[in-house]
């Protein structure tokens, strides 16, 4: 990885719920930030700079909300930035913040990502009707369900694979008190019998809409060496983007994701992700994106992702647990979801994942987020040991 060593030394997140009616927008981000600062053993005055991220401003109807949130996040008199890269924003915000430390610009950076979707409605926010654009009358699921069908066709995956992911991630969430969905009775039958929303996607194959925030404190090597709790060292971080549509675009297995993973693994010295990661937290808002991203991230050959899922390899007790926190399928405050992935990966290698802690062997974990029409990717590798 380019630049100075950087570590995650504080992680905080809110409980994710359908509607956090008990807090304002400032109160929501504050809750996550306070927990991260406590974890890092810091107070507001220790922080050099603040980087926030979220998805479209229209979700909450507050334009450029870093302005309103400056006081709540202790940024007064300091540098503050706001990143927006669609669904990948939680990941890219983490990376922008980490680069401030890697570049030697700052020693201690607080980064927070959030979404308070209950202020409006995510379906509206993601598809505000715009003149000149062909209306997406089928909603967000209507964008991705056809790509899932194409994946199924290409790979020959049987129809129940997505349902297996839907069950696995919801069961994992039972060990995570902050997860939005807790569905103790979920099984394959409940998923198969849930309402068919966007054939081939059923209700339980789809993420919820959540209010929530995630915060990380990033520190330089010197700061991390003195941190009260174990750091998660960043071994690599990468972002890639490609246009929404163009001739020859592979929308199912996008080049941007493959390039991003390749760059990331080169930085982190990963040659076999399935063997070298103890866990992966990957943006899976629709169940089928687990097998699709298994392939895109090089955990297996193209076309084989569903076989890993079917064999239970990605379960918490499998050889490569994916989304032991319950993942996006269990909590989805859109702007925060990417940072939740990055932060949950860090918690695993710090040994601080509570009841959903995986067994640490290599001490490395992957965080991934994607957004737009599967065109924006951000990823990092965190490790228990210094890179």
């Amino acid at each position: 990885m380019a630049g100075n060593r950087v570590a995650v030394i504080g992680v905080g997140q809110t409980a994710h719920r359908t509607a956090r009616k008990d807090v304002s927008m400032a109160g929501l981000v504050r809750e996550a930030a306070v927990e991260a600062l406590e974890d890092a053993g810091m107070t507001w005055s220790d922080i050099d700079a603040v980087v926030i991220g979220k998805a479209p401003d229209m979700f909450e109807g507050v334009a450029m909300p870093e302005l309103y949130l400056a006081d709540a996040l202790g940024a007064v008199g300091k540098p503050m930035m706001r990143v927006h890269t669609a669904g990948s924003v939680g990941g890219s915000t983490s990376i922008v913040a980490a680069k401030l430390v890697a570049a030697g610009v700052h020693e201690r950076v607080l980064t927070v990502a959030y979404e308070k979707q209950s202020e409006s409605n995510a379906t509206w926010g993601l598809s505000v009707p715009m003149p000149f654009q062909a209306p997406l009358v089928a909603g967000a699921g209507g964008y991705f369900a056809p790509l899932i069908r194409a994946y199924m066709y290409r790979s020959g995956a049987p129809r129940h694979i997505g349902h297996l992911v839907a069950v696995k991630d919801r069961r994992a969430a039972l060990r995570n008190p902050k997860a939005h969905l807790h569905l103790p009775d979920i099984d394959l039958k409940t998923v198969e019998e849930s309402f068919l929303l966007w054939d081939p996607l059923r209700y339980l194959d789809v993420c919820p809409s959540s209010d929530g925030a995630m915060a990380l404190v990033l520190g330089s090597e010197q700061v991390a060496d003195a941190a009260p709790n174990p750091p998660a060292w960043i071994h690599g971080m990468a972002m890639r983007s490609e246009p929404t549509m163009f001739a020859g675009r592979d929308q199912v297995n996008p080049q941007a994701g493959r390039d991003c993973a390749k760059d990331l693994y080169a930085q982190a010295g990963i040659s076999n992700p399935r063997e070298e990661f103890d866990a992966a937290e990957v943006y899976v808002p629709f169940s089928w994106y687990e097998p699709m991203w298994l392939e895109n991230l090089g955990f297996c050959a193209e076309g084989d992702g569903w076989k890993l899922t079917e064999a239970g390899a990605t379960a918490p007790d499998g050889d490569i647990p994916w989304n032991p926190s319950g993942g996006v399928l269990s909590s989805n405050p859109i702007g925060a979801s990417g940072m939740v992935r990055f932060g949950e990966a860090a918690q695993q290698v710090r040994g601080r994942a509570g009841d959903y802690q995986v067994e640490l062997k290599t001490g490395k974990a992957l965080g991934q987020a994607y957004g737009g029409g599967s065109q924006f990717f951000s990823m990092w590798v965190v490790g228990r040991d210094k890179p």
Partner: protein
């Protein structure tokens, strides 16, 4: 810190562009900035942009914007929902890590499609202020009243800024408001629209885009005869509430300028992101400009204000003068938020 320079700059500005969509506005400026930089598009290490969804009234403006960049094969790319000056800052940081040696930065937006001044109300506290709908001009006027009252100034001081901006604008092909014959009397003869401000004190509605290419060290030297080196770039934010801030000064500009090293650099030229006459006066105080420095020779935002690019253009204007040999060093300023809540200072210098 690595030496990083602005090696090319291009921008466009018109009062109302009814002939091009946002992507069509981006294409020519990106193309020009890339061509002038001499760095092949595919070799640019990083791309970062600044835009605001509320200008187009729909989400994901930057997603479409990417169609004008040529992000194939896939690019290292990022976006801030801020003026593109902050996109430049993000790109500068990326170069500092050593991961990349060059970056394309761009901003774009059409202020003419909606009611810009009303849209910016949505930047304010959503419980106490936004429901009252003070426009961005109303809020600026509150600052102007407070500043004039505290400084013992009057509207003539505002008019002086407006006149110089209009006159300077005549040398700027992109100016949407310029008048070589503007005088204090002619400005003061205009009606006050937002006490104590006149139209001449308020940046004109402008559509446009801007692009800058940054390059590090030897790469910059190899592609540009006289790169404009970034000697310091810093930004700071203030508290949000207008009623808790001292509106008569810009504390965050003072902090950013000091951190960027203003005291070490005598300045030939300064470009300020002042969207209102009084903002220039407040910023000049904050930067302790002594009257020798050339302020907004381009005419500044009062001549052309393509929102989301205006701050980036300040950096480009200073860099352009350095590259052209017209200045040795200068300071560019960008701002965000009501009444100069957040400010960025970038000090540039020739070799």
């Amino acid at each position: 810190m690595r030496d990083v320079a602005v090696v090319s700059f291009a921008y466009s500005a018109v009062a109302k562009d009814v002939l091009h969509n946002e992507v069509e506005m981006i294409v020519p400026v990106v193309r020009e900035a890339v061509a002038v930089s001499g760095i092949p598009r595919e070799d640019l290490g990083f791309v970062c942009s600044g835009s605001l969804d509320y200008l187009q009234g729909g989400p994901f403006a930057f997603v479409m914007g990417l169609d004008g960049v040529g992000a194939w094969p896939p690019k290292r790319e990022s976006h801030v929902e801020m003026d593109a000056a902050w996109a430049l800052y993000e790109a500068w940081v990326a170069i500092q890590t050593g991961e990349v040696d060059s970056a394309l930065v761009y901003g774009f937006g059409k202020s003419s499609t909606g009611d810009l001044h009303e849209i910016m109300t949505l930047q304010t506290d959503p419980y106490y202020v936004a429901p009252l709908w003070p426009s961005m001009v109303d809020m600026a006027a509150l600052q102007a009243t407070a500043y004039l009252d505290a400084a013992g100034f009057d509207e003539t001081n505002l008019a002086e800024v407006a006149v110089r901006s209009q006159r300077n604008g005549t040398s700027n092909a992109h100016a949407v408001r310029a008048a070589g014959d503007a005088t204090i009397d002619s400005v003061l003869a205009e009606p006050v629209t937002h006490h104590p401000l006149r139209d001449a004190d308020i940046a004109p509605i402008t559509d446009g885009a801007a692009a800058i290419v940054l390059a590090a060290g030897d790469l910059a030297r190899s592609v540009c005869a006289r790169p404009a080196w970034i000697r310091g770039i810093e930004h700071r934010i203030e508290a949000h509430g207008l009623g808790v801030r001292d509106l008569t000064r810009s504390e965050s500009t003072e902090l950013a300028a000091r951190a960027a090293g203003i005291d070490e650099f005598p300045l030939d030229v300064v470009e300020l992101h002042a969207q209102f006459s009084h903002e220039e006066l407040i910023l000049a105080d904050a930067l302790r400009l002594d009257g020798e420095t050339d302020i907004n020779p381009s005419g500044g935002p009062l001549a052309a204000n393509p929102v989301m690019s205006t701050g980036l253009i300040r950096i480009g204007e200073v860099a352009r003068r350095i590259t052209a040999g017209e200045a040795e060093r200068g300071l560019a300023h960008a701002s965000s938020g009501p009444c100069l809540q957040q400010n960025l200072v970038c000090i540039l210098e020739a070799e």
